[in-house]
């Protein structure tokens, strides 16, 4: 008898999740935001499996974005922001890949990308916004015309049009919907019935998940049905939007997970040092990604002291007094 019979067919490890749902060329949405709730366990596994030509669609991304680009897995991205706050004003491997012409990219803003995911989640082809009027985001397309003919790429980056409900001059930007092949989400809880609960800020994770054709959810804990259904106001996604459920404690390390662990400033500073040039970057990948077989091994390598240092205070949600220099 399986431990979790209701989700038996969806429970798997990161390796299987990547093998089953991610292909060369997949269009992938990454959940989380800069230094928080990045689906790192899946990102590392994508690198280990040597997936190529990924088309990333994201708002503000940091760690997972930079690792995937740095490992050569990414061919293109639609992006609003590539940075890690104070730990990397601009992500290093992202910066270098763009400057060397190694990836194609198209710039949007955070609100625009979030609204594009919302449109995809609602099943509408576009959504209007006033954001971006007059900016070069709207004037300059990043992708060459041949890419625009592909099924999952918007035929136009934006359409600027007149509001048909207003007789006066009233311009509005129409944003094309996004429907990625796969969304990668890291959550605190998944119920044994498959219900997903994200604590703290949800960023655009729920819209990303609902806009995608397939959803991989990694989680810190699998919790009883009786718990997840006692206060369903707090839940984020019903089971029927989730294809793979992967239990990976510290699955977002070195990024944070509210009420579980803080961002690992020490590791992010180390990453910053290593990501700066190609030689040290290769060494980082060899040691921290290729050099470990699993996230468990990765955590063992980090060690208990490092994990305990970032452990969140479960009431305030972060690691009080943590040295974040």
């Amino acid at each position: 008898m399986a431990l979790y019979p209701e989700i038996e067919d969806k429970l798997m490890n990161p390796g299987e999740a990547v093998r089953r749902f991610i292909r060369n060329g997949s269009q992938i949405a990454i959940g989380g935001f800069t230094i928080t709730r990045n689906p790192m366990a899946i990102a590392y596994e994508i690198v280990r499996q040597g997936i190529r030509d990924i088309h990333l669609v994201c708002h503000s991304h940091g760690q997972a974005l930079d690792v995937l680009i740095g490992a050569g897995c990414v061919a293109r991205c639609e992006i609003a922001y590539g940075g890690n706050g104070r730990y990397a004003p601009t992500c290093f491997r992202f910066k270098s890949a763009v400057q060397r012409g190694k990836i194609l990219f198209e710039d949007y803003s955070n609100y625009q990308m979030s609204l594009r995911f919302l449109a995809g989640a609602l099943g509408i082809p576009f959504i209007p916004t006033k954001s971006g009027l007059g900016s070069d985001l709207i004037k300059l397309e990043g992708f060459p015309p041949e890419i625009r003919r592909e099924k999952k790429i918007a035929s136009k980056k934006y359409v600027v049009t007149q509001n048909p409900f207003n007789e006066d001059d009233d311009k509005i930007v129409l944003l094309p919907a996004l429907n990625p092949d796969v969304a990668l989400i890291h959550a605190q809880y998944v119920g044994e019935d498959g219900t997903v609960r994200i604590k703290g800020l949800t960023f655009a994770d729920i819209e990303q998940a609902k806009s995608a054709d397939a959803v991989i959810v990694t989680c810190e804990e699998i919790v009883p049905r009786s718990f997840i259904r006692l206060d369903p106001d707090q839940n984020s996604l019903p089971h029927f939007f989730v294809d793979a459920i992967v239990r990976v404690p510290y699955g977002a390390h070195p990024t944070a997970t509210y009420a579980f662990y803080d961002s690992d400033a020490k590791h992010l500073n180390f990453y910053k040092k290593m990501a700066k040039d190609d030689e040290t970057w290769k060494a980082y990948l060899d040691e921290w990604v290729y050099g470990v077989q699993s996230h468990e091994q990765y955590l063992e390598k980090l060690g208990a002291t490092a994990l305990l240092a970032i452990k969140a205070n479960t009431v305030v949600g972060y690691a009080v007094g943590l040295d974040r220099k």
Binding site: N84, S109, S131, D136, K171
Partner: protein, 252 residues
């Protein structure tokens, strides 16, 4: 030489623009200091929020990024980006945004995307993030800059975030009925924008900074006829900034 840093002067100077009732959009770095200082010193009834969806956090510790767990602790609402940006542009709210940029022009338009050609840039920066959104939608924008010729330019390499666009009423003509650039706070002084032409002018130069030095470090002609010397920070302002806003000295 007074005993305060550029960051301290910039944070306090920007903080003074915030009024009670303002809804303040804070980014990382100095803007995080400025927003927190504003609430602790000048406008206790201002609300600080983050594009990530955290509204009015307790900020017992200063966040290192807008997704830092400290932006979601003790808040009145934990939501997401769509909720946050709908607040930025909400017609009922007076929203002030703090931004930073790599380049700024005389009309307060900002570049945070590239130096050089867009498709094959000499330098790639992080990109818009929420900057383009708040520049389009907020009631007003205050920008932090290092005051250098290469950053105050005649023409931006890339226009990420619209300020007063081409000046005059060109912003409204774009279809952006409200907002625009309120002020630019640098390590040398404070620039504001003419009510009619919307061109940048020098409003304040910090104690010990000459008007000439600012002119030399600005890549376009700037009106300095209304320039006044700023008051230095008081001991109490510095105490609150150092002991309450950033006691861990993460950004000071």
């Amino acid at each position: 030489m007074a005993d305060y840093t550029d960051n301290e002067m910039m944070a306090l100077t920007a903080g003074r623009f915030i009024k009670n009732g303002d809804i303040v959009f804070a980014g990382t770095g100095v803007s995080m200091l400025a927003a927190t200082a504003a609430k602790r010193i000048y406008a206790p009834k201002a609300v600080i929020f983050f594009e990530t969806g955290g509204v009015d956090p307790s900020l017992d510790e200063i966040p290192m990024a807008v997704a830092d767990l400290r932006t979601m602790s003790g808040t009145c609402l934990n939501s997401g980006l769509i909720e946050a940006f709908s607040i930025v542009g909400h017609k009922r709210l007076h929203t002030i945004a703090f931004l930073g940029a790599a380049q700024i022009d005389r009309y307060g338009n900002l570049n945070t995307t590239v130096i050089g050609d867009y498709h094959r840039p000499k330098t790639r920066f992080s990109g818009s993030g929420g900057a383009c959104d708040v520049a389009s939608l907020a009631s007003g924008v205050i920008t932090f800059m290092q005051h250098q010729k290469k950053r105050f330019v005649e023409k931006l390499d890339y226009l990420t975030s619209v300020g007063w666009y081409d000046g005059g009423d060109s912003r409204q003509k774009l279809g952006l009925p409200r907002g625009g650039a309120l002020a630019v706070v640098t390590n040398l002084g404070v620039m504001k924008f003419d009510k009619t032409t919307r061109a940048m002018y020098l409003a304040e130069h910090y104690p010990g900074v000459t008007v000439e030095r600012i002119e030399e470090n600005t890549g376009f002609a700037i009106d300095t006829s209304q320039a006044k010397e700023s008051a230095p920070p008081t001991a109490e302002e510095l105490r609150i900034l150092r002991e309450e806003v950033d006691p861990q000295k993460l950004m000071l």
